[in-house]
């Protein structure tokens, strides 16, 4: 595989984009996927159940010290930040909101960029804040590949636009093309 991990951030409007995207991953071999979306404290189990039922994917809530596996999606719980350690295990923190968010997309992406370097594929979706823009910029600077949702197709364009204002993403995609783009970059057909 060309990538060892995929990290995805989003906020307002991203839930529908993710439902659509994860639903297209069945039968495809993918590296671990980390997801930070702005969800409230205590809500992660409901999101996990919903995604798994609707998309037939294998989503789990991030647990502290967990070692991520291929073909699994790890959702950052509300009220905590999810981080990637240098040994590529997952960890949690409760330092308080960053960019008014906990989990913060920047916290996930910045740590993932340090851990994975050019082996990271990062995605930033629709959202109403600029959380994630600094993280995407670091992913880009450390050699990772960046995909940003086309702000014109975003329910809330602030988030993707904030990233574009900082650097030139590798791919600008519409929601219908996101799954295909991820699969063509990071996926392999399962045996």
């Amino acid at each position: 595989m060309r990538y060892d991990a995929i990290a995805i951030g989003g906020s307002h409007g991203s839930f529908d984009v993710l439902l659509r995207t994860f639903g297209e991953f069945s039968g495809i071999e993918l590296p671990p996927i980390f997801v930070a979306i702005h969800i409230p404290r205590g809500s992660a189990p409901d999101f996990v159940t919903h995604f798994n039922t609707r998309c037939g994917c294998r989503m789990l809530e991030v647990e502290d010290k967990q070692v991520p596996m291929n073909n699994s999606i790890y959702l950052a719980p509300g009220g905590y930040h999810a981080l990637i350690e240098r040994d590529r295990s997952l960890s949690l923190s409760s330092d308080g909101p960053v960019n008014h968010a906990q989990p913060s997309i920047d916290v996930l992406l910045e740590s993932a960029a340090l851990a994975y370097g050019n082996r990271l594929l990062a995605v930033l979706l629709t959202g109403a804040s600029s959380d994630g823009a600094a993280g995407m910029e670091r992913v880009h600077a450390l050699g990772g590949t960046t995909i940003v949702q086309d702000p014109k197709t975003a329910k809330a364009p602030v988030m993707p636009q904030a990233a574009i204002d900082r650097f030139q993403p590798d791919y600008l995609v519409v929601p219908e093309m996101l799954a295909g783009t991820i699969i063509s970059l990071a996926g392999e057909t399962q045996e």
Binding site: K65, G79, S93, D95, R138
Partner: protein, 273 residues
Amino acid sequence: MIDPDVLRIETDLVVAALYQRYGLDFRQYSRASLERRLLGLVEKLHLQHVTDLIPRLLHEPGFVDRMVNGIAVNVTEPFRDPECFSAIRQHVFPVLRTYPYFKIWHAGCASGEEVYSMAILLKEAGLLDRAQIYATDINTDALARARDGIYPVESIARGEKNYLAAGGTGRLADYTLQQYGSARFDSSLRENMVFSQHNVVSDEVFGEMVLVMCRNVLIYFERELQNRVIDLFQRSLVHRGFIALGAKESLQHITGGAAFECLDRPARLYRAI
């Protein structure tokens, strides 16, 4: 831009300086959070590199406290995770009633909201005058805030729902004196509280506790350090004492975890067997 390998070396060097000069042991803190906090401190102080912290750490009196207070931060709120507090009411309070006098330790109390939450529940159960509550943290800024017990009124307002979910019977605001946007918890809640600086990584046992609250501290530690801290708590507890952890922490993979039974899994409440 940041070079990950250089950042790793720089973090090692700062950690070594803290340990060798001040005996402050961050060697087994989870690195991703630690690196993030060091970078945040560098930005706040308008420094260029993480290693720029080292000369100040070694030569500037008092800088070490600023630094520890900048990197050992934990944020909480009144009745955070109400299911934890309601499980304590359900499982621990009946045991507390059997004691004429008992001690509770909030290890890593941060800014203290949960300490006051505990005092309120104890008061409503008629147990507060038998209680001695120890609240400790490594962060002296946080500890000073905890001692003052003054929080933004919005934080109290947000806590009302959790307070009710935890089994509170009144209004959280009624335990505070509010003016100019601040809310100060009633001094009667503070009478049996003792605040002191304590480092669970290196300091010794706090004896004869019936309950140790240590919430959202273990997540910052690597596994071996988690083992040591739980061992410290075990030695700090009375026979059949209780431990309450944060919502994302457990004793499952911890050496010594087998010495505890889980009373309520979502609440992360454990009891020594």
